[in-house]
Symmetry: C2
């Protein structure tokens, strides 16, 4: 597809072109049914097959045991920020949150709005969230420890999970879900908005360990209780059918074209290393994250001469590279290189960065 | 499109074929941008244009004054069932709900789960919800009166709004939103899941009168407060971008191809009258809703000989007519004839029903 742009958007973001082509082909008549996936009953056999495929492929990709449920929940990650404390911080309990920037801060705020017991057990706020903090002294009594595995704004990522001594980890993985293999056993819950590594926005994927369900109070509004999604298999009401369809295709692509999460991680590592290596050649570009905390998903950097940044963005667009502007809260440049951003796109970016440096040194 | 089926699904349901074709054409590169609407930042100019178009067209179709905001909220109508009492029933207040079947009953249940003051001011439950009940004695002190304008399961619809004496009406219009012109002035809020008359599932449209915002408590979880959606123009987090794009195209189709809501109502009336007229010719088919409460959106009926119903469904599918099975809670037949179901589709259904009657009399 010659007319496809190199898309480095932080989210919603690039989807695999092959997936987009399959969606396009079937858009008016899914598998000869005479209707689009958008137009069919969520309780019919066709869509039940689709949601089941999405669920099964996610389970298989992560090697999840039967102890886990895969749910499709409304509202993106931001609604989960509110639902997690509502469902899992009981009377008198204090949950542990690790603060690593914008999204973790929002998660903490939503627990506090509900007057729930919350302790910020570690924070890299004093280092401007440019690294993942050291974690020690976690309480063994906490109902969970909450982390944000990848931080899109500052370009940091957890590379080793904190030892919680058996307390369930709950992780917002919106921006690195399905990007690498994972030992899922420490996790009570994993959640993520679909719109970075999985599909279009409109649904969150929630991976929930079944023993967590027992802790959910019985008096929550139906749509705000994870128990509802478990008991009704994410079909208490109409789920976001088209985004779930896209997830089924993206996870199929991950399994059948990429070859699973280890293979995906290898590709993601090559992409990130190419970019960081170029950045580290001299000080024309300056990475903003501490090296040991650098994200494989969002490479954030400044130009030594910040006045050149608007020109960098302008020229990159002219070269067919989109979405490189940094988050408005921090400025600078951000290249989001999620699963579906190809090595060819990263190569094009590296070539552009190299040229831009030579021209503007 | 010869291979498109006649789709009578109750929701998700048929979308205009012309809209589907435009989506298909632009799926990999929206207006030459080199990316799909699914892949672009919700804060970029392109998507901002799309959401603004959807908002503006809804406003224009209903002739809404500046006193109203159009919002795109997560979670479908079912989450609004919980958010409405959370936002609008204050301490010591009692809201009035009119009970007209399945969906209104769920709305009432969600208010009760929160221990909110709720009174069922009228119900057609003693008539098996086959009609819209007479409403009198509404309290002038209530924060709102809640109705469900169209009832998909029993095939009933409000044709005259109740006189609330100035108390704001809040209406779940999931299944007849944008199907006819409306005097919106009595409404404090109108809401509806997208997946019947507007687009694919994954978002709800909420039309909120601005004076309602002042009543919203300030301590709600951010994503559960309508104030957030007003203040952040439905962009506190990533909205369901692709469903909103579809809504922008469907409302464009309503304005530019159909010619507005009065024209749409004329078409919808012709479709419903054709079906009901055929049904009323003799007692082979028996409409289940009281005549004065019949829905223009969902025509529900039984066969006099109920044993023939499975054969009716089987044969209809063979004739390219899909989605005619009644809701599982009541059985029978249901033809959902929302905006995008064409007169040609209804004609095909009438021909089939006539033939089936002749063959199986």
């Amino acid at each position: 597809m010659n007319d496809r742009i190199h898309n480095f958007s932080a989210g919603p973001s690039a989807l695999p072109t092959a997936v987009m082509q399959e969606m396009q082909e079937d858009l008016l008549s899914y598998r000869g049914s005479g209707m689009s996936v958008m137009e069919m009953s969520h309780r019919g056999d066709l869509f039940m097959g689709i949601i089941d495929e999405a669920r099964t492929r996610i389970k298989r990709l992560y090697g999840l045991s039967d102890a886990y449920e895969v749910l499709f929940v409304h509202g993106g990650a931001s609604l989960q920020f509110a639902m997690v404390p509502m469902n899992f911080i009981g009377e008198g309990q204090t949950a542990e949150y690790i603060e690593t920037g914008t999204w973790s801060t929002k998660a903490i705020a939503e627990a506090r709005i509900q007057n729930k017991g919350v302790r910020v057990a570690a924070s890299s706020g004093d280092q401007d969230f440019t690294c993942i903090p050291e974690v020690k002294g976690l309480s063994a009594e906490a109902p969970f420890v909450h982390i944000t595995t990848n931080n899109t704004v500052r370009g940091t990522q957890w590379h080793d999970l904190p030892d919680t001594g058996g307390v369930p980890l709950i992780a917002d993985m919106s921006s690195d879900i399905l990007s690498r293999p994972l030992d899922t056993r420490p996790f009570g819950m994993i959640y993520g908005g679909a719109q970075k590594n999985m599909g279009p926005s409109g649904t969150a994927v929630v991976i929930l360990r079944k023993d967590m369900v027992e802790k959910i109070p019985h008096n929550l509004p139906t749509m705000l209780s994870y128990r509802t999604y478990v008991e009704k298999e994410s079909m208490f009401n109409t789920p976001a059918t088209f985004p779930i369809y896209a997830i089924s295709l993206v996870t199929k692509w991950l399994e059948e074209t990429v070859g699973g999460l280890a293979a995906m991680e290898a590709v993601n590592t090559r992409k990130a290393e190419a970019l960081y290596a170029l950045m580290d050649e001299d000080d024309f570009y300056c990475g903003t994250a501490a090296k040991e905390s650098r994200s494989l998903m969002n490479a954030t950097f400044r130009l030594r001469n910040r006045e050149l940044e608007p020109l960098f963005i302008e020229k990159s667009l002219e070269c067919g590279l989109a979405g490189l502007k940094g988050h408005k809260s921090v400025g600078g440049i951000r290249a989001s290189i999620y699963n579906a951003v190809s090595e060819a796109s990263v190569e094009a970016l590296c070539t552009f960065m190299d040229d831009f440096r030579r021209t503007n040194r």
